[in-house]
Symmetry: C2
Subunit: 431 residues, 2 copies
């Protein structure tokens, strides 16, 4: 949690935490600044001291929304500094940072640097700054950083925001199911009342609309993938593709708060009208592994063994996995979980690259998402919920939603099919 | 344009162009990959050769949407490489890049690096890579880069996409005006039919909804700022604030294509019901400078003098400017224009930091946005259109929309006010 930052800075022997960049698409900055829109900013936190935000003059009100101590960049006038820099823009940027650090009484120390900016610019500016201020040392950063360790555990206010996003997400999933089941069918396709096929693109357009109605954003897109597409985990689906009855549809939705903020992550797999036997068999395997894993979640447990356990469970059911066959595209092919917060994917990590820092500490918010994929058979199944390891050490699903595989289609169509097929269709289904 | 890349690489003596990071929120990656969703990727273009995209195994279909030559990251198995790296994650990342470069037959050369990733990670990984492959040299990058020079000019397909976003943007602006003028008034406030004040937050919620209906996204927020807020250029507005008649409302909207893509940028200033004399006077000054500047746009002209010219014009009208008083918060306080494309702000630049590379070349898409701001008087006025310097050397506004300052409010309410005020209100206004 944010309140652990000073202790973590002590532990990692870091004197200065520095976040650079805009607020949009920059979770490290948003973690500190909250709701204001900043097109360019620098946030500095010295160990044991509150953060200071350097902002553009015309973003002074947006910066003030953060509640942080502010420094107006008009203290570093371009005209004077570019002259001092002999007209060299890179040297100007370094000079500006030198003066900024000096104003904060920072002349040396170990700096942990964060914030999404252009990689080439980061390399140029911060290497040049290190040369200009020899006492500065930038701490080497891997995947698990001091900041990701702080962000790993969420405080109650953060959990409530994620829970609220869970409510919005499942509301949109429910609206999507209602929309699909309200359509008609013809020749094995889902069609609208004019008889035109309903496409993946149309469904996604509605999903974005419902998210907007509920005040959410969808910056990373949505997986709404059917048939072959559902059998490749991150295939987002083919917009012009029609929806065929009986195909597996993997619906993985991961929106965030409006204005940028906390995410939710959620997956269900659906078959429209009926589930072919082999789809049902895969679904039952995924569902049983999902249940088993949920029952085995333990507070403070290291994360990596859950991936091993998932592989073991799927292998027992006869499926290839990334453990038995690292390059497999069939069977279980990804990690079982990831942390979630201001980023849709963040620590803790559960895959091969998980470290000892990745544990189910109280306050961790994470997904559980077993899946099975068979591209050659055009079959994919994934189920995913987002959970919170709460203060009582219980893993709590943050938004409940049914796991049903089959979405019934309208009986009018079924009747038509009964007539056409001479009554050979399945038993009537009710919603 | 993208087709100029090889010539630019020659000109800048660059052997390898490298873009790193995900696709979301990463314009440099989207410039090459287009519509696919990639959570992590590397794009390498050697001079004179087509780009190659390194992608995650489970994102092979998304990567394929790019139409680029692909390299599946399963060639670099984690298990083997982390062992070779002695368990060190940073060394693993460097090893992986070394093998990737070797597979592309890149062993030395000058590399221009782009793509938004965490600054600390960029510093760690690419500095370590440079040490591991001594023949690699990362080209120092300032504000004007080789890639920004390519992106500076748009090809006809890009212009059509921006024009389409202009149509969407002005449609939403029109819907916003219709919504506001359809409301009622009470005690100088805009109210709904129940008599409840209409708030900035409600208007913004509708704007997001209309954008979603038209398939657009709004990742950077919207400026819908009234009264004092309108007098600070990047103040986005106060959600709970009611809309008061006669206040200046700066409405600056800059959405992008759904799924991430090309932006549009557009501003109008409105007064509901009536414009006080001092608001009208500012509006007329901004409008006249706007007209004057549009008439002075010349193909191949350097950009920086337009900022000087704008200051000159506003100073002639008696306003302080950033030229006459660099730290001023009153008068004309920002740059007159910026380029626009996959980023809402990109080259060419027009402000103090503009260089000789910033010119109105054919194919440049840019804004013109004069404004005047007086926070102490709670007055702000800005007008902005997005233009394209077309192949004939004419600057063409990409989406037309009226410039009217006053949005009339419903007469029913005015009558109520006439009765209450004993008929002292302004002359009747019609829509």
């Amino acid at each position: 949690m944010k309140q652990d930052l000073d202790a973590l800075m002590q532990q990692y022997n870091v004197d200065v935490l520095w976040v650079t960049g805009p607020s949009a698409g920059n979770p490290a900055m948003v973690y500190f600044t909250g709701e204001g829109f900043l097109t360019a900013a620098e946030l500095i936190k010295r160990r044991g001291q509150p953060p200071v935000l350097l902002h553009r003059p015309m973003e002074r009100d947006e910066a003030a929304r953060s509640g942080l101590a502010l420094l107006n960049a008009d203290r570093y006038p371009y005209r004077e500094l570019i002259q001092e820099a002999g007209g060299d823009l890179l040297r100007y940027q370094v000079l500006r940072f030198q003066k900024f650090l000096a104003d904060l009484d920072i002349h040396s120390g170990r700096v942990a640097l964060y914030g999404r900016i252009d990689a080439g610019q980061a390399l140029s500016v911060f290497n040049a700054l290190r040369q200009a201020v020899p006492g500065l040392e930038f701490v080497p950063e891997g995947i698990n950083t001091l900041l990701s360790q702080a962000m790993l555990t969420k405080d109650p206010a953060e959990v409530e925001r994620i829970r609220r996003m869970g409510k919005i997400t499942t509301t949109v999933v429910s609206k999507t199911a209602d929309f699909l089941t309200a359509q008609h069918t013809r020749d094995g396709l889902l069609v609208d009342r004019r008889g035109e096929p309903v496409t993946i693109g149309q469904v996604k357009q509605r999903i974005n609309l419902w998210l907007a109605e509920l005040g959410a954003e969808n910056p990373k897109g949505t997986v709404f993938a059917s048939g072959y597409d559902s059998a490749v985990p991150h295939n987002t689906g083919t917009d012009p593709a029609p929806l065929r009855l009986g195909e597996t549809i993997v619906f993985d939705i991961f929106p965030c708060e409006g204005g940028g903020g906390y995410f939710y992550d959620f997956t269900r797999t659906w078959c429209l009208g009926y589930a072919p036997d082999e789809a049902l068999a895969l679904y039952e395997d995924v569902r049983s592994v999902f249940r088993k894993l949920l029952s085995e979640l333990k507070v403070q447990a290291p994360c990596k063994p859950y991936q091993q356990r998932t592989c073991e469970l799927f292998e027992q059911l006869g499926h290839p996995t990334v453990r038995s066959s690292p390059k497999t595209e069939d069977g279980y092919v990804h990690a079982i979980s990831h942390g979630l917060g201001l980023q849709v994917h963040e620590a803790p990590w559960f895959g091969e690259n998980a470290t000892e820092a990745d544990v189910l500490a109280p306050g961790v918010v994470f997904t559980v998402e077993p899946g099975l994929y068979y591209p050659g058979r055009k079959l994919g199944v994934r189920l995913e919920d987002t959970l919170w390891m709460n203060a009582d050490g219980q893993a709590e699903v943050l938004a409940d939603y049914p796991y049903d595989l089959v979405l019934p289609v309208r009986s009018r169509t079924r009747k038509t099919r009964l007539q056409a097929d001479g009554g050979a269709a399945a038993a009537p289904q009710t919603r």
